[in-house]
């Protein structure tokens, strides 16, 4: 197990390197610069600014400089949020984004898994069709359509929930709409996945044995079938995490939530080079770590698979 983790972490190094390199040159070669939107300054001051941010050096030199500072754990100062370092901005937004994302993943697994299992147990009956139609809808309608629609009904017409904002971070009513909008597509995917694998597992021999020895249906499903049926869900958690991160970019924008996702879009539009790079690297590491965690978890849960 240890060597597996070590090998995977080592394998992540070239991936991260590629991420940093592509992102660096793409944002740098994009037309425009970080100071374009501001009042025009005298050439002398502009030259000073460029020197402070090393923008006067050749691109390849800046690239090595950046790589070195990243290795030292320094993501540099933000261009658009004056007096803030990128690291500060990311740590500022991370708790909010994490709370939003983890709640959504949790809901997706619990609700999606529950609904999917229910659909499998009631296969080809009304409950199954209802759940699967709902899941198809959840998958097809993107969250940037779902979020405004939910807000329109619950926030504007019924006035039961606030239409946006995050409050002081402790009030539940601000979190319901964004979390639900973010979780819905994932709940739908997990439900479909669980239904499919549960149907297959319920037909297998060890379930027939469990039933034959007179085990109650509840115990058969929870003790025996669930463990095998949830394996595909576990391996889906990797893509789910990536999907939730992407989704949070939109959701944070729609509900004006102070998370990391918003920084990325604004940073890309304002050519805030360091901020964009910081967010890309941060999320890249997060996705790699999450995928590793999923693989380890999979190895623990699936007795057929042993990491060598």
């Amino acid at each position: 197990m240890f060597s597996f983790v070590a090998k995977r972490l080592l394998g992540a190094v070239p991936t991260l390197f590629v991420i940093i390199t592509i992102a660096f040159f793409m944002i740098r070669l994009a037309p425009g610069g970080p100071f374009d939107s501001e009042r025009a300054v005298p050439a002398e001051i502009q030259a000073n600014l460029n020197r402070v941010y090393h923008l006067d050096q050749p691109l390849i030199g800046q690239y090595w400089l950046y790589l070195r500072s990243v290795l030292e754990g320094n993501f540099g100062p933000s261009f658009s949020y004056k007096d803030y370092s990128v690291t500060e901005l990311i740590w500022d937004g991370f708790p909010v984004s994490m709370e939003l994302g983890l709640t959504a993943v949790f809901l997706a697994v619990i609700i999606g898994g529950g609904l999917g299992s229910l659909a499998a147990l009631k296969q080809n009956r009304a409950a199954d069709y209802t759940i699967m139609t709902a899941a198809m809808t959840g998958i097809t309608i993107p969250n940037f359509v779902m979020a405004p629609l939910l807000t329109l009904v619950l926030g504007v017409y019924l006035r039961v929930l606030p239409v946006g904002g995050w409050g002081d971070g402790h009030e539940l009513k601000y979190k319901i709409l964004p979390v639900v909008a973010l979780a819905l597509p994932q709940i739908a995917y997990v439900a479909r996945l669980t239904r499919g694998s549960m149907i297959e597992v319920l037909r297998s021999n060890f379930i027939r044995t469990a039933r034959a020895k007179g085990l109650s249906e509840w115990l058969t499903v929870t003790r025996h079938a669930a463990r095998a049926a949830f394996l595909p869900v576990v391996s889906y958690l990797g893509p789910a995490c990536a999907g939730i991160i992407t989704g949070s970019v939109v959701i944070e924008q729609i509900f004006s939530i102070p998370g990391i996702g918003r920084y990325f879009i604004q940073g890309a539009l304002n050519r805030d080079y360091t901020l964009v790079m910081g967010v890309v690297i941060f999320y890249g590491v997060l996705i790699i770590l999450f995928n590793l965690l999923v693989d380890v978890l999979y190895g623990v849960l699936d007795p057929k698979l042993a990491h060598r």
């Binding site: 991936t15 097809t140 359509v145 729609i254 990325f264």
Partner: protein, 297 residues
């Protein structure tokens, strides 16, 4: 379906069996959801093509008397007007043009790159395959959406270039599928026969491998188009995609979400069009998969 006995047709004529494509078409026609999806797509496609002829107002015509007015059949504003007094019916149809066009365009780019890359990796095999697939693995683990956003920044406002670029990023799944199929085909007798006749590798890949993997590839393309349409709407929603006065469903949904308290129709119509199109494409894709790969049901 009648099976003609071999001896009745004589030796010279081959027996009339049902080819893969014929039986697939039969299965597809019998699938109600897929046919419904296909019909809806044809209707939406026709509406998009005919947009300038069937809408009573031009898509960028501003009517100062009708700013944010609800749908009204009498004055030709079938879907109402937006907050700038422009006809939402015309704008929704023009949005359909952009969304469908970029969806198809990017899918074709990803199709071409993915099929060539996958077929070469699968057919050549060995070290070349290893390196090519390792590259795909690395590209897979990149945070995709961030690169798409960076691409849109990189290419500025050129929507066509952005979608060629998106197609160029989207080919990974296609390459994997094609590689797997190619490796399965490579050792089949008809490929060996072609070899024995002295056909070159290029012509074997082009004439024998690619036509034989068209089934799964077609299914995958049908499922790629909605993904790309979704992506375009996503980018336009964030303000990174199509620019005024041109429009797309993402732009309209974004505008509609802003005005939904006073003009809910400006959100509901484009959102419905987008959702219905995505539904139809998914149904059609699922139907195609069931039709072409009966053992997968």
């Amino acid at each position: 379906m009648s099976v003609t006995p071999l001896d009745a047709v004589g030796v010279a004529m081959p027996a009339e069996g049902t080819s893969l494509w014929t039986s697939a078409r039969r299965r597809l026609v019998r699938n109600r959801a897929a046919m419904g999806g296909l019909i809806v797509l044809i209707i939406i496609g026709a509406l998009a093509i005919l947009a300038p002829y069937i809408s009573a107002h031009a898509m960028d015509d501003i009517s100062w008397e009708n700013i944010g007015t609800p749908p009204d059949w009498a004055n030709g504003y079938y879907f109402g007007t937006d907050s700038n007094g422009r006809d939402l019916f015309a704008r929704t149809l023009y949005g359909a043009r952009v969304s469908l066009m970029v969806g198809i365009l990017a899918s074709i780019v990803s199709l071409v790159i993915g099929v060539i890359y996958g077929a070469v990796a699968g057919y050549v095999g060995g070290a070349v395959d290893n390196v090519m697939m390792r590259i795909v693995d690395i590209l897979y683990s990149l945070p995709f959406m961030f690169f798409v956003i960076l691409l849109t920044v990189f290419f500025g406002r050129n929507i066509l270039l952005i979608f060629v670029a998106i197609g160029a990023v989207q080919w990974l799944d296609m390459a994997r599928i094609v590689r797997g199929q190619t490796m399965a085909l490579k050792h089949r007798e008809f490929i060996e026969a072609a070899h024995a006749f002295g056909a070159s590798s290029t012509s074997i890949v082009r004439r024998h491998i690619i036509p034989n993997i068209l089934g799964p590839v077609m299914v995958f393309v049908t499922l790629t188009v909605p993904q790309v349409i979704l992506l375009e709407s996503f980018l336009s929603f964030l303000g990174l995609g199509v620019q005024e006065p041109m429009t797309s469903w993402g732009v309209l949904i974004s505008d509609g979400a802003r005005d939904m308290e006073t003009a809910p129709w400006s959100l509901l119509f484009p959102a419905t069009f987008l959702a219905v199109t995505l539904f139809s494409l998914n149904f059609l894709g699922d139907g195609l998969r069931d039709a072409l790969d009966p053992k997968d049901r």
